[in-house]
Structures are given as C-alpha cells and as structure tokens.
C-alpha cells in the first residue's frame, strides 16, 4: 500500500485546467521531487492534497483511506503537513507561538501546554531558530521564515511533509543549509514531497521526480532519467 496515492486528480479554474488527470503515488520513506515550469500546477497539487481544494474529478488516498474532500484541518491531523510557497506564517505572533499552534492543534491528541512548549522549543532548536523564539515572526529574514514554516509543520507530527519551494529566494549558503535540513527530516523517517526550482537540490536529495507541465504529468523517474528525458529538456528549453 502506498502512503499517498492520487488517481486522475484534476481541478479547473474557470477554463484553466490547473491540474488535469494526474495520477501519482508516494511510498513511506521516499523523497519525491515535483518540478515543472511556472504555472505548471505544482502548488495547486499541494493544495489539492491538503484539501484546500477538492479535486474534480479525482481521488486521493492516504494509507489506503479515501481522503478526498476531507476538511483541511483533518488532513493535517491525519499526518499530512505542508509549507507554503508564499510564506504564510502567523506574522504578528511570536515565533514560538507559531510552532505551538502546530503542536496544540495539529495532532489528534492535543498535548498539554507544557509538553507543547517543550516540543516547540526542541523543533526550533532543530531548525536553528531557538535564539529568536520570542521575536514576532514578521521580523525574521526570509530564510528564517521558511525555517519557521518547516518547524511548525513538523510540530503537527506529520508522516508526509510537503515542502513548496523551500529554497526559492535563498542564497547559496542558505540553500545548502536547507538541503541539509531536508535530509535530516528524511532521516527522522518522514516522507517528503518537495517542489523546487533549484535543480541541484532536487537532483541530489530526491529519489524520484515527477514533472508537471500545463497541469499534466509529462514525466516521472529517477533524477538521472529526468535529466536525460527529451520531453523534460524540451519543456524547460521551450520556456
């Protein structure tokens, strides 16, 4: 049984087929890359998986269970967490509260306040933000805001973590740190789907890659296969 499985997932916005008939799966322990040109539908696919949108038509299954149309907060509690491409941290709250929200609300059994605090502090240490714990989140640098996104997603104790362009806008040092972070998360046993334009990162971290273009899945394979695929090269050069 796959951890997550999509069958013929589609969604239209007006006349635009943002995601169209995409079938995919991801297995426990994998790091799956999701790439494609701007507007390919990658973020929309995340929005579908996290149930911000409901596929029409299409079916999503998590550990064999149909989760299509479930409320987003239930999806989160089920063990699917995500970060946002356009950072959506709670800007006016202190950093620690951002993480505590994930911990207090993102699990079926809500931990006691002290336990949530402890978990949040540990996660902030893990992503390297413990020094700015009490700063309002809006005052963080972009790189740190992205780390915060990761920390609070992890606070919901996910089995599957979806990272949407974690490395976009970061400088080379920060990209290297982010890649390390992704590996460490994988080593914790958390399955990852990551959207990324930074090819170096995708190629070195992911075991398998799916390529979207105009809402459709046009290729799928190992980084090696993708790098050598004619269709993929055409799509990227054609842009």
């Amino acid at each position: 049984m796959h951890l997550l499985e999509g069958e013929g997932v589609s969604i239209h916005f007006g006349g635009l087929a943002a995601v169209s008939d995409v079938s995919f799966y991801i297995d426990q322990g994998e790091v799956l890359g999701l790439i494609g040109p701007n507007g390919a539908g990658k973020t929309t696919l995340f929005n579908l998986i996290s149930s911000c949108y409901v596929p029409r038509p299409g079916i999503l299954k998590f550990k064999g269970k149909n989760i299509t149309g479930m409320s987003p907060y239930k999806i989160c509690r089920l063990g699917i967490a995500r970060t946002f491409q356009t950072v959506k941290i709670f800007a006016n709250m202190p950093v620690i509260d951002n993480v505590r929200i994930g911990s207090l609300f993102g699990n079926t059994r809500s931990p006691a306040s002290a336990e949530a605090n402890q978990q949040s502090i540990e996660l902030l240490e893990f992503v390297g933000l413990s020094r700015v714990m009490n700063t309002p989140a809006r005052d963080l640098t972009l790189a740190n805001q992205k780390r915060l996104e990761v920390a609070r997603a992890l606070a919901t104790k996910p089995e599957l973590l979806m990272l949407d362009e974690l490395m976009a806008g970061l400088n080379p040092t920060e990209v290297a740190q982010a890649m390390d972070l992704v590996r460490q998360i994988r080593d914790k046993g958390i399955t990852i789907i990551m959207i990324e334009h930074v090819m170096k990162a995708i190629m070195s971290v992911c075991g398998r890659i799916i390529v979207l273009h105009h809402g459709q899945k046009i290729a799928e394979g190992t980084p090696q296969e993708i790098a050598n695929s004619k269709t993929v090269i055409e799509v990227y050069l054609g842009e």
Partner: protein, 329 residues
C-alpha cells in the same frame, strides 16, 4: 536558555506597562466597588454608569468576534433583542418558577438563547462566507429575526411588545451592582479567552485562515464558538436592559442602535484589546446619556456617523493613544 512561556497565550515579560495596567485595574475596582457608598443612589451618575456597564458588556461581546477573529458582525441587535425578549417571555409565562427580577437563571437563559440563535445562523453563514459577505449575512439574519418578532403573534405581541412587571423596582442599586459585576465578567471572559487555547486558534484564524486550517485548526468550529460566546454576552446585555426599560418592543431593543453601539464602543476604545471596550463603554455611555437627557432619543444615524468619524481619525481607538505614549519611552 530563554524562559519558556508557561501560559497558553503568549507572555510578554512583565514590564512597566503591565504593572501600570494592574494598578489601573485595582484602582478602578476599588473606585467602582465603593462608589455607591458615597454617592446619592438615584443620581444621574449612577444611571450613567449603569448605561456604561451595558455598553461595556455588549462591546466585549462584539470585541470577541471582531477584535479576535476579524469578522465584523452586524447582527448584535438581534442578540441583544433575543436576550431582552427571552427575559420577558420567561417571566411573563412563568417558565422557570424563580424570582425573575435580576434572576441569575433568567440571565443565563437569555444569553443562552442568543448563543443558540448565533449557532443556528452561524453554521450556514460561517461555513460559506467571510469578510463583507459575513457582515451582510449577519445583518440579513438579524433583520429576518426582527420581522419574525413583529409577526410573532401572542409570543412577542408584535410591534406592541411585551411589558414586564415594574413593581419590583426600588432604586438603582441592584442595577449598578449587577451591571458592574456583568461588565467585569464580560471583560474577564474576553481576557481568559484570549489567553486560552481558543484564543490562540482565533488569533491564527484572524491572521491566515488557510494556514490555520493546514495546521489542524478547525476554522469553522472556533469561529462558531467565538460567535456564540459573543452572542451570549450581548444577550446578557439585553437581559440587563430589559430590567431597565420594562417595555420590550422592537423599537426599544431591536433598533439599529444596538447594532452600532457595540461597534462604536470597540472602535472608539480600541478593537481587539481587553481594555478598549471598557474605555469605549464609558465614552459612548457619556454620549448616549448626555444626548438622551438633552434631545430625547439617539437616532441610529448619529451612532453610524460617529463610527465613520472614529475610524477616520482614531483608527486604533483611545487605547491606541496610550500605546503611543508608551512607545515614546
């Protein structure tokens, strides 16, 4: 290592500001707690304070929804009216077999009725609409409720309204004490909500709903809870007012002033703060009592215009001025 917060809500380090707040709270409690012992009980001041307490109560009821979830409800007059009508109906039909006049059970039931109404209209409204559309829908629901009251037959006596017995009235003492107690309770309720798990969820929702939902917060559930708590508080305000006017009719308790007053109280004092509606309550109380004694009745248009003026010239409310003073240090 930095000190870890022990509260659910975020803790600011205790600075001069929180100490000032504590001093202000204690002084205010001592002042209002002893006020009647050195004032003529039937003076206009006591009457004025009673009005202020009502404004603080309904202000806090609106504050919890608008200030902490960012949803502007335009249905307060319905909750207020429901509180007043529930009081009258329970009393006139002798439903609870208690003493009715300033009866805690009747107060509770008046709030509860408003909260139930809030849940009934809140489920369809909050699950589909947000922002302006939420506002319009609450206004529409409140107006539908007004029509129902006008056509309520024997239950509400239509435009005539209901009269509760005025024979129990002795002096303003009980009005003052109950009003004070309820205003403190309403303010404390908002305080504890903001410091609780619920408050944390509400803040997250007001910052970004999609992000809140993606982190396990049931947006509908928490918005509904806040809406119901707010309605409960405003309903209790309606109950208190019913004891004061005795004649409960649509023009008295369902007029648009009861939609505008809580908004005015909050934005004048400072929306989304604990102390704002308290300050706002005293100022709006002054405006209303002054104009009622001077020109008879306050037209809803006046409160509407005031709201616009305050939003234009004092967007953070009076409490915002205090924050500015503290920032200078």
């Amino acid at each position: 290592m930095a000190k870890s917060p022990s509260f659910i809500g975020s803790l600011k380090p205790a600075g001069p500001e929180s100490l000032t707040n504590l001093v202000i709270i204690v002084l205010a409690l001592v002042f209002f707690g002893t006020f009647l012992f050195y004032t003529d009980i039937d003076s206009i001041i006591v009457f004025y304070l009673f009005y202020c307490f009502i404004f603080i109560i309904i202000g806090q009821g609106w504050n919890i929804v608008a200030g902490y979830t960012g949803q502007i409800s335009l249905g307060s007059h319905a909750f207020f009216g429901i509180g007043a009508y529930t009081t009258a109906i329970i009393w006139l039909r002798d439903i609870t077999h208690t003493w009715y006049f300033f009866d805690p059970l009747v107060m509770f039931l008046s709030g509860l009725a408003a909260a139930v109404f809030a849940v009934i209209i809140g489920i369809p409204i909050l699950s589909r609409l947000r922002g302006d559309y939420f506002s319009f829908a609450t206004l529409a629901a409140a107006q539908v409720f007004t029509v129902l009251v006008l056509r309520g037959g024997k239950l509400t006596e239509g435009a005539m309204g209901l009269r509760i017995p005025g024979t129990l009235f002795e002096d303003l003492g009980i009005y003052y004490w109950t009003g004070l107690l309820l205003a403190i309770l309403a303010t404390a309720a908002v305080f504890f909500v903001t410091r609780s798990r619920l408050g944390l969820a509400l803040r997250a929702i007001s910052e970004d709903e999609m992000s809140a939902a993606s982190h396990g917060i049931s947006v509908l559930r928490y918005k509904l809870i806040a809406f119901a708590i707010g309605a409960f508080i405003i309903g209790v305000g309606g109950n208190l007012y019913a004891y004061y006017i005795f004649s409960i009719s649509p023009p008295a308790v369902l007029n648009l002033n009861w939609l505008f007053y809580p908004i005015l109280v909050c934005i004048l004092g400072g929306n989304g703060t604990i102390g704002g509606p308290v300050i706002g309550g005293f100022v709006v109380g002054a405006i209303v009592v002054f104009s009622e004694t001077l020109i008879g009745r306050v037209h809803p248009m006046v409160s509407g215009v005031l709201i616009i003026l305050v939003m234009k010239f004092l967007p953070t409310g009076l409490i915002g001025l205090k924050a500015k003073v503290f920032q200078r240090h």
